[in-house]
C-alpha cells in the first residue's frame, strides 16, 4: 500500500502526544511528592526519555519487531534502525513510513519502564535508576513486547492487547509492587510524608497525560480513520466515568472530594481502558470505566493502607490492577463489529478469549513481578539501590542532583 498522508499525519502527531506523556508523568509525580524530591523524578523521566530512546534505536526495535523470530525474541536486522524503510512501510502499519512506525513504538518503549519511577520515588539512587531502566527494558519490556506485538508466541496463542494493557500496564504495575517490596518503605512511612507539595503541577501533568493518551490509544490504530475515532471516544468515556467514580468515593468518604482524587481517577480510567480501547464500543467503555474507578480506588486502599506496600504513587493499582482489568475486559466485551482485526469477547459469543487474555495477563504479571525482583536484587548487590538514610532525609534533589526545585 502507498504511504497515506492523512494516516501519516495522525501517526506523527500521535508520536508527539506520547512523547508528551513522558515528562508529563514526571510533573504528575513531582507534584504529588515532597518538594525535596521533586526534581529527582523530573530528572528520571527526562533522562529516561533520552536514554531509552537511544536504547530502542540501537537494539530495542530490532529485538521486538525484526524478523526472523522463533517467537521468543526478534532478530538483529534493524540494529541502529539500519534498514528500517523511510519511503516504504513495514507490514505492521502498511500506510505509514517504516521509520514512523518505529519512532512511534519508541515512545512506548520509553514510557513503560518509567512508569515504575512512581514506585521507587524518594529513595532510589540515581545510578541504580539508570541501570534499572536499561535492564528492565532488555529483560522484560523487549521480550514481552515481542511476544504480544512482534508476532511472538503470545500473539500466536491469540492474546490481544490494543495499546498496552498487558505489555505495558500489567508488567510495569506488577514491577512497581515488586520494586516497592525490594526497596522497602520510605523513612517515616506514614501520612505526614504523603502530603503533595504542588498540586497544580500534578494537574498539569495529568492534563498532558490525558491529552497524550489520545495519541497513545487512538494512535495505536496505526492509521487515521474510524478505528482511531472510536478508540479516542472509548478512551474519553472510560477516563470520565472512572474520574466520576473517584469523585463520588472521595466525596462519600470525607465530604470533601479532592483534586488529587479526580486526576487519579482519570489516569486510572485511561490506563485501564488502554488494552481494550481498540476493540470495544463506547457503551461498554462506560461500564468498564466504572469498574476501573472502583478497582483502582480500592486497590490503593488494599496495597497502601492495608498491606502497607510503599509504592509511592500507587502504580501497582492505578496502572497494574487497571491494566489487568482492562486486558481481561477484552475477553468479555471485545467485538469484531468495532474492530474486525480483533476478537469477540464472551458477551459476543466467544468463550475462549477470556482464558487466552488471562494467560497473557499471567505471563506479563509473572515476568513483570519476578523479573523486577531479580533485577533489583542484582543491582542492590552490585552498586546498591537505596540512598543513605541522611541522604533520604535531605532529599534526592540535593544529594543526587545538587539542585533545588524552588529558590527564594
Amino acid at each position: 500500500m502507498p504511504i497515506d498522508s492523512g494516516d501519516t499525519s495522525w501517526m506523527l502527531i500521535s508520536t508527539g502526544l506520547v512523547l508528551l506523556m513522558i515528562p508529563a508523568l514526571g510533573f504528575f509525580e513531582a507534584g504529588l511528592i515532597r518538594s525535596k524530591n521533586a526534581l529527582s523524578v523530573l530528572m528520571q523521566t527526562f533522562s529516561g526519555l533520552a536514554i531509552l530512546s537511544v536504547l530502542w534505536f540501537v537494539i530495542g526495535f530490532t529485538l521486538v519487531y525484526s524478523p526472523p523470530s522463533g517467537g521468543i525474541i526478534g532478530g538483529l536486522n534493524w540494529t541502529f534502525f539500519n534498514g528500517v524503510p523511510v519511503n516504504k512501510s513495514l507490514d505492521y502499519a502498511p500506510t505509514i513510513p517504516g521509520v514512523t512506525f518505529a519512532t512511534y513504538q519508541m515512545m512506548f518503549a520509553v514510557i513503560t519502564p518509567l512508569l515504575i519511577t512512581g514506585a521507587f520515588a524518594e529513595r532510589m539512587k540515581w545510578s541504580a535508576f539508570v541501570v534499572f531502566i536499561i535492564a528492565w527494558s532488555i529483560f522484560i519490556y523487549y521480550p514481552l513486547a515481542h511476544w504480544v506485538w512482534g508476532r511472538g508466541w503470545l500473539a500466536h496463542m491469540g492474546v490481544f492487547d490494543f495499546a498496552g494493557g498487558i505489555v505495558i500496564h500489567t508488567s510495569a504495575g506488577m514491577g512497581a509492587i515488586a520494586a516497592a517490596l525490594v526497596l522497602g518503605r520510605r523513612r517515616n512511612f506514614g501520612p505526614d510524608i504523603m502530603v503533595p507539595h504542588n498540586i497544580p503541577l500534578a494537574v498539569i501533568g495529568a492534563t498532558m497525560l490525558w491529552l497524550g493518551w489520545f495519541g497513545f490509544n487512538a494512535g495505536s490504530a496505526l492509521a487515521s480513520g474510524s478505528l482511531a475515532g472510536n478508540t479516542l471516544l472509548v478512551s474519553q468515556i472510560a477516563s470520565a466515568t472512572s474520574a466520576i467514580v473517584w469523585i463520588g468515593l472521595s466525596w462519600r468518604r470525607s465530604k470533601k472530594p479532592s483534586t488529587t482524587a479526580v486526576i487519579n481517577g482519570a489516569i486510572a480510567g485511561l490506563a485501564g481502558v488502554t488494552p481494550a480501547s481498540g476493540f470495544i464500543s463506547a457503551q461498554n467503555s462506560f461500564f468498564l470505566g466504572i469498574v476501573l474507578g472502583f478497582a483502582s480506588y480500592y486497590g490503593i486502599l488494599l496495597l497502601k493502607e492495608h498491606l502497607k506496600i510503599d509504592d509511592v504513587l500507587d502504580v501497582g493499582s492505578v496502572h497494574g490492577i487497571t491494566g489487568i482489568v482492562g486486558s481481561l475486559a477484552i475477553g468479555l466485551v471485545a467485538s469484531v463489529v468495532i474492530n474486525p482485526a480483533g476478537p469477540n469477547g464472551l458477551f459476543y459469543g466467544n468463550f475462549a478469549q477470556l482464558g487466552i487474555q488471562a494467560l497473557g495477563v499471567a505471563v506479563a504479571a509473572a515476568l513483570g513481578f519476578g523479573g523486577t525482583i531479580i533485577i533489583m536484587k542484582v543491582i542492590n548487590k552490585v552498586i546498591g539501590l537505596r540512598v543513605k538514610e541522611e541522604e533520604e532525609e535531605i532529599g534526592l534533589d540535593i544529594t543526587q542532583h545538587a539542585e533545588r526545585s524552588y529558590v527564594e
Binding site: S254, T260, N264
Partner: protein, 114 residues
C-alpha cells in the same frame, strides 16, 4: 519599647492590621509560619484523595509590631477583644522587651523611630 508577636489564623490579618492602624502603630512585619498549639488543625487529603490526615502543623500568620511601652497594654487588650472567639485556634500573643530601635532612613532612634 515592646515587641508584640501575634500568631493568628491567616484570615484575621486584615482585621488586626486595621486595628493596629487605628492605634497608629508605625509599622508591622508579617511572617508565614507553621505551628502547633492547642487546637486541632484542618485535615488534608493524602494518598491521591483516598486517605485523609490531620497534619502536625497548621499554617498561621505571625505579626510582629514594635510599640512604645505605653501603648502596648491597650493594643493587646484590643486585639484580644477583637479576635478572641474562645476557640483554641484563636492564637497567641507574646511580648518582648526591645533594647533599641532605629529607622534606617531618618537615622532616628528610640520611640521616634517606630
Amino acid at each position: 519599647m515592646k515587641r508584640i508577636d501575634l500568631i493568628i489564623p491567616h484570615e484575621r490579618l486584615h482585621e488586626v492590621n486595621d486595628l493596629l492602624r487605628k492605634h497608629q502603630v508605625g509599622g508591622l512585619t508579617v511572617y508565614d509560619v507553621k505551628g502547633r498549639g492547642r487546637a486541632k488543625h484542618e485535615p488534608v487529603a493524602i494518598g491521591r484523595g483516598v486517605m485523609r490526615y490531620i497534619p502536625e502543623f497548621g499554617s498561621r500568620t505571625k505579626i510582629e509590631v514594635v510599640v512604645s511601652d505605653l501603648n502596648s497594654k491597650s493594643i493587646i487588650e484590643d486585639v484580644l477583644k477583637l479576635i478572641s472567639t474562645g476557640a483554641a485556634s484563636d492564637g497567641k500573643v507574646f511580648v518582648y522587651d526591645v533594647a533599641e530601635a532605629y529607622d534606617i532612613g531618618s537615622k532616628e532612634q528610640g520611640e521616634k523611630s517606630i
